[in-house]
Amino acid sequence: MERMPDGGSLEQLQEPDLLEAFADREVTVFGFTGTFRDLADMCPVDLSDPRVTLDAKNDFVVKAANEAGLAIAPEHEETFTRVTEKHGLERKFTVAEPPGAGPPSVIVRPKDFVPKATVRIEQVITPPDSRADPAVLVQQERTTTEVVMAEATSGVATEVPESNEMAYQETVATHTQEQTFQDEPVVHALSERMLQEAQVQRPEPEGEAMSVSTKDVVMMPVEASMQRVVEQKALPLTQPNSESAPVESDMLSLPSIPAESFSEATLPAMDHVLAFDAASAEATAETVQVAWADELTKEPVEIYEDFTAALQTFGELSEMPATDSERDLFEVQPHDEFAEQAPVPPVAAEVSKRLAALDDEAKETIAPMVKDIIGTMHGLQLLEASSAEPETVVAIEAQLEELCKELLGAIGIEPDDEAVKQFIDVLRNPRFRPPQPELSQQLDLKHIGTHEAKGPFAQLGGTISDIEHQAERIIGKLILFYVPHSTQAQLQLAA
């Protein structure tokens, strides 16, 4: 226990000893990371010297924590505010509100909520199971959230802290046990791969199937993708409106489905899917998760094409009013995302346009970035669905932000905060989904077994309906042409 200064006022005596409170918390400031105890040891004066006043020590803690943009407990806000104002510092710290205090800083999400809006990095996401236990939140807030946020804010540390990595592995392990689609091979393989690759710190060779898992996106994509950007600073982008725009055959578009008819072909199916989803918001979240998980098994270029198509479809869908099923589905959510029907963010259309206009060389460069983004997004969905540790979610959200910045920059869009936020909003929107497989592919899925079909099966509402309809017709014909023997005999007699 630190000695209080002699002659201190009552107010001073009531001041918390922030150095003691923050001693073991890690912080990244000015590009290096250490605990507050480590940082205090860098002081020219021994801070344990009783002549050093509590105010002096608290000033140091507040300055360092503020510089790092840490989230602090509400009980420390007053001290932090006073010190930052006293020194004329910009307020960079954030306050994690106690559970149940409302939406601003602490967002308590239902398990099945797939938000449209991106959660800001300053926010602390609390899993439902920790909501009832304030100690959990306080402990989490005190241990690792600030570290992740500081690292993300400083832009220096790109590796997730070991504690986060462990939490992530635990989450993945829990997820694979608890999720209803645990037997689904694609997701299962993905999860296994995540666990295997948790020990691997290097990127996988390009071109390998499933080269990006959610584990990859935690540890690798920023460095890997940054390297790609550095290596290929100037992508041979073709402006969509320029005279040198590629001919249509060179442009990426949905294979075999013309853009004009794509909506006509897919929107009814989408509505059908949403009708299924209306029964359970969880099913919707799972459908989206599985759809993206399925994407991750594809080659980067395929993912890139589906991603571009999904952006295009999202724009078309967003211009349509929400369906009743969508409204029903999201009425139960804390944020009625579809009620407002916000216009499509301009960045979505711009990204879609620019991605579609890339030439082959640029496409190959961009495709792994897109795959990284999909992997990160899918990892985030899995974590949110499995009540992950908030610091892990925050870390991956930061990762997603970095990847999106990278992508926007690579295709010539200024990656300012607003554009990145808008783009992430699009990615996190439940309406942003991979394009539906063609009918023949869907029918193939029908024959590959329960496990294989389980994931995409929920998306295939339209196909199921068709199949059922065909079966009904066949049964109807059988009934129509079936004549009982007794009736046959009567007919023969009559003849």
């Binding site: 004066v45 002096a56 140091f60």
Partner: protein, 82 residues
């Protein structure tokens, strides 16, 4: 050279902000980072700031720990220990 003649700014300029420094607790940072960190202690290190010679010795100590203290400045360490 009299240590009192060496002001902290000149001393820092001699080594540059990228010079590696180290602390007893094992922290290895650059001199620039150490100075930024030092600014966090503007109240706590008031004594050091009021005594430039002491501050130079402090800087010399961390540079020595980082392995970059020039031989001509090693006297600063001796002075400190004396």
């Amino acid at each position: 050279m009299e240590q009192g003649n060496l002001d902290p700014q000149t001393f820092v300029d001699t080594y540059g902000l990228d010079a590696p420094v180290a602390f007893d607790n094992g922290m290895n940072v650059s001199l620039g980072q150490a100075l930024q960190m030092e600014a966090m202690f503007c109240t706590a290190d008031a004594v050091s700031r009021q005594d430039p010679a002491k501050r130079v010795r402090y800087l010399a100590g961390m540079l020595a720990a980082g392995g970059t203290l020039l031989p001509e400045h090693e006297y600063l360490l001796r002075s400190e220990s004396e």
